[in-house]
């Protein structure tokens, strides 16, 4: 009887500890978000640090974004063509691919690539600074580490990602055109006329808004896990891993909710 009682107590203790840990995590993430928001509007504005980060996130991600987008555009065109040919509507391949890429693939893929490349780098860099007391050194000098390290990274990711999203969209469409027109033999005139009929500039907005929100979240998660690092090299590894894993999970979950909201706002209410 005592043994059963002990097992029950341990079980509830475990559940309680898990709940408390998660609540603590949510609390500290909310505090991090509020700190970043607060320090965003406090002087001095760190323009140079922002530009350095913008260059690192934007320019240094261009090649990998271009490479992945061209092949994504090509493979989606191939698969869509096979499906549409059965129904005899293969001339619609162009607009279907453009809409898919503009609304979903470009923002989500760009965000995932930036999470892996830059979210991880943010967590590792800030985490290393934390374990080597460089963050304490900043604080002791009277400089907010959140303002100096966090704010430029979060805003740079938020503004760089929509631009990378546009690059993804443009290059993926070149890949799509190449496979559709040059490889699969869709008549070029039909390909363009269907594009004109179904695709408008407003399609871009959905992807751009999503990319900006994803960018902000990636910056926030990357810096949060950097500041949270404890211990030595092992802690930095764990922080980097958490930044990438949580970044990707949150992007995919958020994508659904953002889509539901944007569909309502942009199409149903005609904003």
């Amino acid at each position: 009887m005592t043994m059963v009682k002990n097992i029950f107590i341990r079980f509830f203790e475990y559940i309680g500890a898990q709940v408390l840990e998660k609540l603590e995590g949510i609390g500290s993430f909310t505090k991090h978000f509020l700190d970043i928001s607060y320090w965003t509007f406090k002087r001095p504005y760190r323009i140079k640090l922002f530009l350095d980060q913008f260059y690192f996130i934007g320019n240094k991600s261009l090649f990998i974004i271009a490479l992945t987008s061209v092949f994504s555009g090509m493979v989606i065109t191939y698969q869509t063509y096979i499906g549409m040919k059965v129904m005899g509507a293969y001339t619609l391949v162009g607009p279907i691919v453009v809409l898919t890429i503009a609304k979903e693939l470009a923002p989500v893929f760009s965000a995932i690539i930036v999470t892996g490349r830059c979210g991880a780098a943010m967590a590792a860099e800030i985490g290393t600074m934390k374990v080597t007391e460089q963050i304490d050194a900043l604080e002791v000098m009277g400089i907010s580490s959140r303002q100096y390290l966090g704010v430029p990274r979060v805003w740079a990711t938020m503004l760089a990602l929509p631009l990378l999203n546009l690059v993804f969209l443009f290059v993926a469409n070149i890949g799509s055109w190449f496979v559709g027109v040059e490889v699969l033999g869709i008549e070029e005139a039909k390909y363009y006329s269907k594009l004109k009929s179904f695709v408008s500039v407003s399609v871009l907005f959905e992807g751009l808004i999503k990319a900006a929100v994803f960018g902000y979240i990636i910056g926030l998660i990357g810096t949060f896990h950097g500041f949270k690092v404890q211990g030595g090299a092992e802690g930095v590894g764990k922080g980097t891993n958490a930044a990438v894993v949580w970044g990707m999970i949150v992007i995919l979950i958020l994508d659904y909710f953002l889509t539901s909201i944007l569909v309502k706002v942009l199409y149903e209410y005609g904003v």
């Binding site: 080597t132 007391e133 304490d136 050194a137 604080e139 002791v140 000098m141 009277g142 400089i143």
Partner: protein
């Protein structure tokens, strides 16, 4: 009676049920070198964090340079911390910045000096800590442990602080560099500063402490069990301190 730079009155710090500092009182004199000695886990680092306003006491009063530190808000604390310099255990240099940029960092942040003036000040500070211009554009990874400590000290002195804190300044250094750092603590701070510089050292290096300190405090389990001028401290009869002195001097 010497004027106090740091005054702790009945400070208690608790983390949950765990008491780190117990009713601790100490008056650290202005313009002197005071070392806080103690075994690992005695509460030395927590006490240092209180001085910097990084931690607030659960109970008690803490006055530094006339400021009631626990009552300062975040903005006031940031301004207040500019009156401090700190040499970290492993120097804590920004590893993406050169020696020049590390030392110039606080100067660029908090003064309106021109580039030429900043360079002149950095060179002055480098010379004060015994380094030449050769190391000016080297990254911390290209410097030895001793050189990094000296650059860290130069950075700590950059804004002419009123209080200089040292966290284990000689840990991990060879005997020659240790002597050099100790000499710097006793000389550089004083020559660099126009006002009287108060130095507070956290250490368990008893040999160095006896040589360079004007006052020594001994912290045990969150309590100051002895605080006296170095001469008196050497002759203390307190059994714990005698044991510490005997173990570390033989």
């Amino acid at each position: 009676m010497l004027e106090s730079a740091i005054s702790c009155r009945n400070i208690t710090k608790k983390y949950g049920e765990h008491t780190i500092l117990k009713n601790l009182s100490i008056e650290i004199p202005k313009g002197k070198i005071t070392t806080i000695l103690g075994y690992s886990g005695a509460g030395k680092s927590t006490l240092m964090k209180h001085f910097l306003g990084l931690v607030k006491p659960t109970k008690g009063e803490l006055t530094i340079l006339g400021n009631e530190v626990p009552n300062l808000n975040d903005d006031e604390l940031r301004k207040f911390r500019k009156r401090f310099g700190m040499l970290f255990q492993y120097a804590a240099l920004f590893d993406s910045l050169t020696t020049y940029d590390n030392i110039a960092f606080p100067i660029k942040e908090f003064t309106k000096l021109k580039k030429k003036e900043i360079l002149k000040r950095v060179q002055e500070l480098l010379r004060a800590v015994g380094l030449s211009d050769e190391s000016l554009y080297k990254l911390p990874s290209e410097l030895s442990g001793g050189m990094r400590k000296r650059v860290g000290l130069a950075r700590a002195l950059a804004l002419r602080p009123e209080i200089l804190l040292y966290d284990e300044p000689t840990t991990g250094l060879d005997p020659i560099t240790t002597k050099m750092v100790n000499d710097l603590i006793t000389t550089t701070g004083r020559t660099e500063n126009t006002t009287e510089l108060t130095s507070v050292i956290i250490s368990h290096d008893i040999q160095a402490t006896l040589k360079i300190s004007d006052y020594i405090a001994f912290l045990e389990r969150g309590e100051i069990i002895e605080f006296s001028p170095t001469k008196e401290f050497k002759n203390t009869t307190h059994p714990t301190i005698r044991k510490f002195l005997d173990l570390t001097t033989h």
